[in-house]
């Protein structure tokens, strides 16, 4: 149940057996079925979630009812609405499961208590935050300056498994392009 999380942590820092057992006690194991929500727009995001198994997406819905995908999260990834989690403000996002999913959740008070009990985890989360900032900057820069084809190539290079598991219209939404545009880009790429 904790194999993927502990693997992820131990790639960045080194925990003793005792520390690993202690870290486990701060997480809430949670199973979601496909189409079930972890978070719905308007409620406060109470947890950050680590994906042990499965796939989720975060997205918002505009006034015309169009969905805009912000993030996909597969195994070994974290997902949350950090703004809502950190400020306690209602979230503008939804997070739902695209597959049957197994999560490890941690709430704000457990998060703080874990840092106090296992100070090494501060370094782990600092590294995660750095990685997340870099990824956000790259995504923003891609949206501003790259073509649809270049953004798609970047996505392929980043995580191929998502493309195989997510419907094309959601990939298009993530890239901020129409599904027809994505089809054209894919046709052009296979034709090259």
């Amino acid at each position: 149940m904790f194999e993927v999380l502990l693997g992820n942590i131990n790639k960045k820092i080194s925990l003793t057996e005792k520390e690993q057992e202690l870290v486990k006690t701060f997480f809430i194991p949670k199973k979601l079925r496909r189409k079930q929500f972890l978070l719905q727009e308007g409620e406060v995001c109470q947890y950050t979630a680590f994906v042990e198994k499965g796939l989720l997406r975060s997205y918002n819905v505009d006034e015309k009812g169009h969905e805009h995908v912000l993030q996909f999260a597969v195994e070994d990834w974290w997902i949350a609405d950090l703004y809502s989690f950190l400020t306690g403000e209602p979230s503008g996002y939804n997070i739902d499961a695209l597959e049957d999913t197994e999560l490890l959740l941690i709430n704000g008070s457990s998060y703080e208590a874990m840092m106090e009990a296992v100070p090494k985890m501060e370094r782990y989360f600092r590294i995660l935050t750095q990685n997340s900032l870099v990824a956000t900057q790259r995504r923003l820069s891609g949206n501003i300056s790259l073509t649809a084809e270049e953004n798609y190539k970047q996505l392929i290079a980043g995580n191929n498994t998502i493309l195989q598991r997510v419907p094309q219209h959601m990939i298009a939404s993530f890239l901020g392009i129409a599904p027809e545009t994505l089809s054209r880009v894919r046709r052009q790429m296979t034709g090259k």
Binding site: L32, R33, E43
Partner: protein
């Protein structure tokens, strides 16, 4: 929009469990997973609940561990002699979750406290179930 809480009721066909289930099934915004080794009685209870509370999300399940893994809150209404066995079955998947233990005396169970050290165990008398309400952050009695 507030997300639905999922509650697993372990021992749903026991007299206490059945009474609790009938009282709680009308709660809006709650999804119920019912468990009992007596599958015939469980099917009958589920049928009755669907007929009495149309639209309520009620599902009979067979695996106690899986249901507790899915649940946000666990309602334990099994006989005292089975508490330890059930606790051992679910302990891995209920860390950080609220386990509501219903018994006649309302006395906290040492067995449960010991077996589920990382869960939040609340002990209630059967008559105290009526006052329960389920919020986004948990349960209020």
């Amino acid at each position: 929009m507030v997300m639905k809480k999922t509650i697993a009721i372990i021992g749903a066909t026991e007299p206490t469990g059945k009474a609790a289930t009938m009282q709680l099934a009308s709660h809006p915004g709650v999804r119920f997973l019912l468990l009992s080794p007596d599958t015939t009685a469980l099917a009958s209870l589920t049928h009755t609940l669907h007929a009495t509370f149309p639209g309520a999300e009620i599902e009979a399940m067979t695996c106690t561990r899986d249901a507790s893994w899915e649940a946000d809150i666990i309602l334990l209404t099994v006989p005292e002699a089975e508490e330890e066995m059930v606790a051992q079955l679910i302990k891995e998947v209920v860390t950080g979750k609220i386990v509501i233990h219903i018994n006649e005396t309302g006395r906290p169970s040492d067995i449960l406290q010991k077996a589920l050290p990382h869960s939040i165990i609340e002990t209630l008398k059967p008559e105290e179930i009526t006052g329960l309400s389920f919020t986004q952050s948990g349960v209020r009695s």
